[in-house]
Structures are given as C-alpha cells and as structure tokens.
Symmetry: none
Amino acid sequence: MTISLRKARTIIRKTFEKGREMELKPLSIVVLDAGGNVQAFEREDGAAPGRFEIAFGKAYGTVMLGIPGSAQMARAESQGYFMTCVNGAYGGNVIPVPGGILMRDRKGAVVGAIGVTGDTSDNDAIAGVVGVEAAGLVAES
Amino acid sequence: MTISLRKARTIIRKTFEKGREMELKPLSIVVLDAGGNVQAFEREDGAAPGRFEIAFGKAYGTVMLGIPGSAQMARAESQGYFMTCVNGAYGGNVIPVPGGILMRDRKGAVVGAIGVTGDTSDNDAIAGVVGVEAAGLVAES
Amino acid sequence: MTISLRKARTIIRKTFEKGREMELKPLSIVVLDAGGNVQAFEREDGAAPGRFEIAFGKAYGTVMLGIPGSAQMARAESQGYFMTCVNGAYGGNVIPVPGGILMRDRKGAVVGAIGVTGDTSDNDAIAGVVGVEAAGLVAES
Amino acid sequence: MTISLRKARTIIRKTFEKGREMELKPLSIVVLDAGGNVQAFEREDGAAPGRFEIAFGKAYGTVMLGIPGSAQMARAESQGYFMTCVNGAYGGNVIPVPGGILMRDRKGAVVGAIGVTGDTSDNDAIAGVVGVEAAGLVAES
C-alpha cells in the first residue's frame, strides 16, 4: 500500500522523457502514496512557479476519491457543483481533470497517485501513464 | 435531540448489510448528532482513503440545513452557485447529493443525520435509509 | 501499511472496556490508517460534542510526525512555539498530548494511530494502549 | 534568481548521502525557488507520511523572511508569540527551527531555500548544508 522513492523517481524521469519525446511544454509531477501524502515532486526548468499546487490537486483528488482525473472531469461536466463542493471538502486541493492518474500494483491494490501538469490535460495524462507503467505499475487515467 | 452510540452502531451495521446485499462497492458512513457533531464513523475495507470527508459533507449539510441530500441536489441543479456558496459558508463541509439522510424520532424531532458514500449516490441513500429505519428512526432522504 | 475495520472495532471496544473498568469519564476514539485518514470513530454517550476534533488531533499529529503524544508534549513543553507552528503546518489538526498512540505491526511497520480523549490525557493513553494491544498490534504511546 | 532542477537534484542526493554517512533517520527535503515555490521534493523510504509539510515549513519561512531556521529559532526562543503569529500570517507554513537553509549564488543573490527534516533539527541542517554546497551554492543555515 506504499510506493518506494526508487519507483517514484522512475515514474518522474520516464514521464519527463515521454514529454520531451512528444515535445510537450515543461512538465511538473507529484507522486503521492496511498494515503495522499507527498513522496516526490519535480518541476522542469521553464515551468510556471505554481505547478506544485496543480499537480498536487490532480493527484490528491484521484487518490482520496479513488477515481482518476478523467472520471472526475466527466462528473464535473455533468454536475459542476458536486466537484466544486468536493474541492471544498478536501480543503481546496482537488483539480478534476486528466493528469490525475491512479496507480495500482499487479494485484489491483491502490499504491498511490500521480499528478502531471504543464501541457494540455490530455497530453499530461499520456506522458504520466508511460511513467507509471515504466515503474511496473498499472495506471488508471 | 441526541442519538445514542448504540443506535449509531445499529445504523452503521445495517447500512453495511444492505450494501452487501445490494452488492455495492465498499461503503463509508458517518453518524452526526442533532448539533452536527460526529458520533460514529466506519469505513469498510477497500474504500478509498478520503471517504470520511465525503460522508461528513453529506451528513453535515443535511443536519445544518435541515434538508436531505436529494433536496440539496435539486437546489444545486437549479442554482449551482447557491450550494457552492453554502459549501463555502460551512467551511467546505457540504456535499449536496443523495446519501445525506435526516433522522427524526417518532415525534418528528430531528435527532441527527447520516452520510453514506462509496457507490452511486442513489444506492448510498437506499442503503442508508435501511440502516436508519433499523434503528427505529424515521429517515428523510 | 493499513488497518482493517475489524481491528479498528476491536481497538475501540477494548479501549472503552478498559475505560469503564478504570471508571473513566466517557471516551471518544478515532482510528487513523498509516496515511492519516479516518478508518473509524466512536464517541461514548455523555461525552462532549466536540470530541472528534480532539481525538483526531491527537492521532493525526502522531501518525504524520511518526511521534506519539507523550513525545510531542515533551517537545511542546521545551519548545512551545515549535508545536504551535507544526499545528499550523498541519492545518490546525495537531493536539500534542498523551492519548495519541502510534500503532505498529509485529515487524515494526507503522499501520496507523489512534487518538483517545475524554478523561485525563494520561488515563486516555492507558486505556488506548490496552485497546491497541488487544488487536495484536504494538502501541507506542 | 532561480534554481535549476539539475541543481535541485544534486542538493537532494548529496543531502541524502550525507544523512546516510551520519547514520541519520530517513530524511525528507524540499527545494524552493527564490519565490517560495516548490521546485523538487523527495521523502526517503521509512520517513513519516507528513514530512512534506515540515520540510516545506522550514524552507518557506526561510526564503519568505530571508532568514535561516537557526535565526528564526533564536527569535522564537526570545519571542515565541512572534514566530507563532508569523506562522499564521504565512498560512501556517513556517517551522522556525534549524533545517531551513537559505541558498545564495556566488554573487550573494538568494536563489532559494531548502527544508530538511527527519532527524534532530541540528543534524538536518548539517546534512542540508553539505547538499547545498555540493551544488556550488552558498548555504546560510
């Protein structure tokens, strides 16, 4: 039910590599453990200063609700007030768009979530999934 | 104007039993007293870590406004900004969807509220009503 | 790295039993998992309404810092401003006194924390340790 | 007025190396830029879950006030209420003890701050200074 720093580093490096391959804007990634606590974060040079908060919001909502960013976005599109209120309940720490990716081990247990931000939300998610899979984990994005 | 721990336990157990009978996802339930304060809470194994906040939000808005989750949702559907602002006024602790259930005694006095979360909002509410009624109380969901 | 609802219930019941044996005032107990998220809570009849927040504060600081309530109190006695500022960093959710008990499994891994409140802090801690040990866990109080 | 991710990584790795050499408990380190924004963070395996908030508090107060942790502690020792109120003014994000280290370039310009936590505050600071200097920067701790 936890994630090692070694795996967190792999996820971050591989997500950045994929971002460069896709020629995305500078990315930022946070890795949270299964309890919603920060394990690791990196912000690429050239990224805007406030990227930690966005990355954290994508990952935090994902792990606390057990629902990835894309599903949160679908709910927000159909019931905007619901996700707004969920954001309030979680202290303003929820960003319900793609780039919030749930991570499971091979047995299906949630081991944490990542939040990727910097390019379009869809591109953020594509790069992040590559990072999660490179660490031998299953990504739900 | 209060609810005993014994009744709170009955509500929780019977809601969980109904959830298993309906084959719902793992549920979480909070029982609040008539003052909006936590009496009891349980999160079933396998539920996402952030379920306390969602359950609390459903129950807190219900007891503080004296209006169950379904009526809050109707208001949110017609006036989204209103419930968003109510969420702010109550410190982010309002989740205006079904699963927030007002509890009354046989004379009609409000004795508290419960918040159920984990499956669809409608299923959460169905299971919770069974729990409230099993404790000899009247549910307004 | 997690705690089952079954164990959480055992901890709560055994702590209450010990409290009654010691003729303590009504107790309240929260059980948090290793990530600081609420697993279960119960407030005995007759306890003051705001006991959830106190129990949560004892347990939350304990698990987030990895330090039990007694050690937090020692630090607060020698460096009051430090624990006040830690409280700020954790959103006001730290109550640095006995009754915050770290729980480990037989291998030494932290599986969560409990917060007990209602009587004197020292008595709260004595009862809580009995509860934790009854669940087959190691208590650091 | 900024710090590269490359340098941030060097600081983190060298601080961890020093910690292992000194046989410290697992460390956590945050690197903030000159604007107080998160550039990078890592939490070693075995560290308590809430270490991000403590590391951030050490670094944030340091860079926002332009004063390292040791000097903040001296002020707190003589005027506890002052640092408590500074903590409030900065949203609870100030932990005024050693381990908050100001970083300057060779010309004396502040380029950011780090926050190190996990062992005693003094040991945290010793390890962190080694990390900052390994990146070719000047540490004020």
